[in-house]
Subunit: 72 residues, 12 copies
Amino acid sequence: MTYGDQRTYKKVEIIGISKESIEGAINSALHKAHNSLERLSWFEVGEIRGHVGEDGTASEYQVVLKVAFQLK
Amino acid sequence: MTYGDQRTYKKVEIIGISKESIEGAINSALHKAHNSLERLSWFEVGEIRGHVGEDGTASEYQVVLKVAFQLK
Amino acid sequence: MTYGDQRTYKKVEIIGISKESIEGAINSALHKAHNSLERLSWFEVGEIRGHVGEDGTASEYQVVLKVAFQLK
Amino acid sequence: MTYGDQRTYKKVEIIGISKESIEGAINSALHKAHNSLERLSWFEVGEIRGHVGEDGTASEYQVVLKVAFQLK
Amino acid sequence: MTYGDQRTYKKVEIIGISKESIEGAINSALHKAHNSLERLSWFEVGEIRGHVGEDGTASEYQVVLKVAFQLK
Amino acid sequence: MTYGDQRTYKKVEIIGISKESIEGAINSALHKAHNSLERLSWFEVGEIRGHVGEDGTASEYQVVLKVAFQLK
Amino acid sequence: MTYGDQRTYKKVEIIGISKESIEGAINSALHKAHNSLERLSWFEVGEIRGHVGEDGTASEYQVVLKVAFQLK
Amino acid sequence: MTYGDQRTYKKVEIIGISKESIEGAINSALHKAHNSLERLSWFEVGEIRGHVGEDGTASEYQVVLKVAFQLK
Amino acid sequence: MTYGDQRTYKKVEIIGISKESIEGAINSALHKAHNSLERLSWFEVGEIRGHVGEDGTASEYQVVLKVAFQLK
Amino acid sequence: MTYGDQRTYKKVEIIGISKESIEGAINSALHKAHNSLERLSWFEVGEIRGHVGEDGTASEYQVVLKVAFQLK
Amino acid sequence: MTYGDQRTYKKVEIIGISKESIEGAINSALHKAHNSLERLSWFEVGEIRGHVGEDGTASEYQVVLKVAFQLK
Amino acid sequence: MTYGDQRTYKKVEIIGISKESIEGAINSALHKAHNSLERLSWFEVGEIRGHVGEDGTASEYQVVLKVAFQLK
């Protein structure tokens, strides 16, 4: 990539979920996005949320991401 | 649905319009989203706007929604 | 109206109130604005607030609107 | 109430739900707050969200409110 | 839980702390909330902050959470 | 207090009022919180508002505070 | 004033300035607004800014207020 | 102008439009404000929006400005 | 277009880039969107960013836009 | 100073503290900035926070300021 | 530059000014930053403001930028 | 440290990067800040972003921090 060249990007908003960690939720979302979109470039974390299990711990982390990819 | 299972969601931004009410505009947007997207799950209201008619009343309500649906 | 033509708009901030509904409060504000301003064009809802009555229900809805009108 | 007199208020955050309307969800939250809190004074709407039913319409409205009440 | 049924939730704001990780701080806050509140449902991360130790590393993570629970 | 030790805090939102000054309104809110809550630690000013008297001066200052206290 | 009665308010944005204090700047703005507007009701502080004098102290406080008044 | 002197400013919100550029839209709004208001002092850009023409280019730029002027 | 008629819009988030100007970056994004989407209607500028070249000038402008188009 | 002349400013973020008042905390921050920076021009108040003493009053005010100064 | 390598960046806040254009103000700020800082990488536009001249046009554009550079 | 004593803090904005985790990126930024600044006290996480690798996972986490340190 050379700065100054004409490029266009699009951002989509994806929510990933993981029982383990925030990073797990991010990678889950990126993995899904990677299946249907090419040229993924960067992500931005929006909200971090989660569900509380019966035992009073985070039973899952939900991370709202914007994922940017280059348009052809 | 069981919390803790791996799921991924995507959010899209839709603007619904109704002459009648804010709820009407929300349902108009959801109806349209329902035509082309499966597994709609929840919505979040962003902006509420509208047009003013000649008689000085709201001639239409415009509601900007984020609609989330589960990716397969 | 033709896009591309030179127009100028001004926005004023009005608070409408209704015992009935949010839409009622919006129309109350627009009605008042319509009395003293011409060429009202659109509105944007800012805050939605209200007063709680003795019986624990919303005794009035207060909606803060920006109302835009075209300057001559 | 006389302005200038010493008063103190507290705000709590409540989420009301209604199948029918945003106003219904607001009143549901206020009703619940009214059961356990005295001297409710005003409310402020934060988020408006909801669930999408199988038929592609809003099956419930969820409204996040701050409810303020006067401390004794 | 069935969507469409009448439920009411309350959110409280708790700050959890952990020497280890952001997830540790979240679980510390949830654990404390679980001791005094029933029916915890979800959490939303607000701020992530921390203290810097003498060795120039994060000696603790402080996470400001909103924790939501269902009112009876 | 030693950083790195496990502590948990809670924040509540209080509105203090004073005829005199913003600091007066802050202290009025803290005083009230101090009556019912132990281990108050810090506060954060949210909104500063007030009422206008008949003579066109601020007849009272209303300050919305978050007050944090340590949970046992 | 009785809640539930139909009222309409307008907000204008005024910047008051004082050499002395934030409260002084607020009252300066209210005083000016009071000269040309009737039925002033409440104010909301937006920004607090100021100028730094040659001696490294605040040579003036500038407070951006929204002032609300009832429309006839 | 001397800092420290008592001055009061008011801000109004104007939307300027230009086919050419963002700066053109700003100057269009300022020009209109200048026709009816004296002692204009500064402006702050809020939103930058625009309309898309049939050829897929920006057929006009719409800039929402706050314009501040000194009250007499 | 007639206000009051039922219409639905969708917004997508596109990032346009130009070596020359902010307007150039906006038009680059709109041009790309125009290739794959019909009935583009308006745009809203989100962030304005850019890259700094070796000579200490903006070697490219990056503008994050929301582009709205009418759904059929 | 003449508007239109080429000038460049830098903003730094400083936190001032005072036992007495918000204005005291602002001046404490400005005084410190004045010791190491020349050509201080204006300040903008960000957060206002503080510590609560054992007696339930504000034992100190902490004000987060941006201080702007002209670069040579 | 290779992604994944350890790098650290710092952001500083600079205000550039130009009589001509927003881009001119951005480049003026970058030019100044370039004189004293090495390895400038990107910028983010914060506020866009300006001064209004006697003739009712923008006599200068003031752009608040964050400029990021790589630490050695 | 004793609350109530006169202290002044400064905040700087640093971006840390790690291939492993958000906490790794925070510590990378703190480590760098620790090399050139004394009396680091606390940090606040701003944005969390990252780069997407060819395999569709987060190839690095980028965390924008404000780091506060006490001025002498």
